[in-house]
C-alpha cells in the first residue's frame, strides 16, 4: 500500500519526491512485507547530489559521488554531465581521492526515452570522467554505452567504447 503510494507519487510528481521517494523505498525495504516485491516496484530516478556512481574508464578513480548535476533541476540523466568528487581511487592513477572532476553519465538505471518512442535502461549508474572541455581523461571505456552520446557530441567516448547499446 505504501509502496504503491510512493511509486505513484514519484511517477506523477518526480520533482519533489525524487529524493523523498528514494528514502521511502529505502524505509520500505527495511520492513518485512515488501521485501520480495521491492525490486519490482522500485522507481529509478535521476542522478542527483550524493549519488554514487561507478567509474568505467581507466582514469584511476573507482567510485565517484555526484555533487552537482549541470543542466536539469531534478537531476542528471543518461548522457548528461555532472560534477563529482572522487570517493575511491586506484593508488596509481591520474585522479586522486578527493578531487573534484567532471563526468559524463554513460549508464543510468533510470529509463530514458529514445526518439522512436522506446525506452532504454541499464543495470547500474556509471560515469566516464572528462575535463572541462569534454574530452575524456582516461584512454579506455568499459562496458556498453548508449548512442545518446552522439547527440551530446561525446564522440571521443563513443570511439573508445567497446559496445554501443
Amino acid at each position: 500500500m505504501a509502496a504503491t503510494f510512493a511509486s505513484k507519487c514519484s511517477r506523477v510528481g518526480r520533482s519533489l519526491w525524487g529524493g523523498l521517494g528514494n528514502n521511502l523505498s529505502g524505509l520500505l525495504s527495511a520492513s518485512h512485507e515488501t521485501a520480495c516485491n521491492h525490486f519490482l516496484s522500485q522507481q529509478r530516478t535521476f542522478i542527483q547530489m550524493r549519488t554514487v556512481l561507478k567509474v568505467v574508464d581507466n582514469s584511476g578513480a573507482k567510485k565517484v559521488m555526484c555533487i552537482q548535476a549541470l543542466k536539469g533541476k531534478k537531476g542528471a540523466r543518461l548522457g548528461d554531465t555532472i560534477i563529482a568528487s572522487v570517493k575511491e581511487a586506484y593508488p596509481n592513477g591520474k585522479v586522486k581521492k578527493g578531487k573534484v572532476v567532471y563526468g559524463v553519465v554513460v549508464r543510468a538505471a533510470m529509463q530514458r526515452g529514445r526518439c522512436d518512442g522506446s525506452e532504454v535502461k541499464f543495470d547500474d549508474n556509471a560515469v566516464v570522467l572528462v575535463d572541462k572541455q569534454g574530452q575524456p581523461i582516461g584512454t579506455r571505456v568499459f562496458g556498453p554505452v548508449p548512442h545518446e552520446l552522439r547527440q551530446k557530441k561525446h564522440v571521443k567516448i563513443l570511439s573508445l567504447a567497446g559496445h554501443i547499446a
Partner: protein, 166 residues
C-alpha cells in the same frame, strides 16, 4: 526501422513500443510490455511460462521447423537500396505471411484431430462405469424409463436377460 522480437514472449516489437534493458555484459533484452519485463525481473524462464511462444514451440504446440521461417532470419549485412528489390520484398512479405499463418493453423488442427472423438469415448465410458454415483443400480433396473439412451439400454437388457436365465 527494425522489427524486433520481445525476449520473453517473442511477439514483434513495433517502433514506439516497449522498453529495452541493457545488461553490463552488453546483452540487450527487449520487451514488448511491462508484463514481460516484470516476468523477466522475477527471473522467470520463458520456456516454462505457458503463454510464451518459447514454451509453445518447446512443447510442440506451435510449428517449429518450416520453410516459411527461413525468410525471417535476421541478417546483419546492410542491403544497398534498390527500388525493385524493396517492392518485391514488400509483396513477398504479404504472401509469405499468409502461407505461414495457414500452415500454423493447419498444424494446430492436426494436433487437435481425434480429440473430440476421444472426449466422447471417455465420457461414455465414465457414464457406464459411474452411473451408480448418480442413481442406485437397483432403481435403474426397476424403472426402465430412468435409464440413459444408447449403450446403457443394451447392457441393461442384457442384465435383465441374465436375470431371466437365472
Amino acid at each position: 526501422m527494425r522489427l524486433d522480437k520481445c525476449w520473453f514472449c517473442s511477439s514483434t516489437l513495433y517502433p514506439g513500443h516497449g522498453t529495452q534493458f541493457v545488461r553490463n555484459d552488453a546483452k540487450i533484452f527487449r520487451f514488448c510490455r511491462s508484463k514481460c519485463h516484470k516476468n523477466f525481473k522475477m527471473k522467470r524462464n520463458p520456456r516454462k511460462v505457458k503463454w510464451t511462444k518459447a514454451y509453445r514451440r518447446l512443447h510442440g504446440k506451435d510449428m517449429t521447423q518450416d520453410f516459411a521461417f527461413e525468410f525471417e532470419r535476421k541478417h546483419n549485412r546492410p542491403e544497398r537500396y534498390d527500388r525493385n528489390v524493396t517492392e518485391n520484398t514488400l509483396k513477398a512479405i504479404r504472401t509469405i505471411d499468409k502461407v505461414r499463418v495457414t500452415r500454423e493453423i493447419k498444424h494446430i488442427e492436426r494436433r487437435m484431430t481425434g480429440k473430440k472423438a476421444k472426449e466422447l469415448r471417455e465420457a461414455q465410458k465414465e457414464l457406464e462405469q459411474n452411473i451408480s454415483l448418480v442413481k442406485a443400480p437397483a432403481v435403474l433396473r426397476e424403472d426402465p424409463s430412468l435409464t440413459l439412451p444408447i449403450k446403457l439400454k443394451v447392457s441393461q437388457k442384457q442384465a435383465e436377460a441374465h436375470l431371466m436365465e437365472e
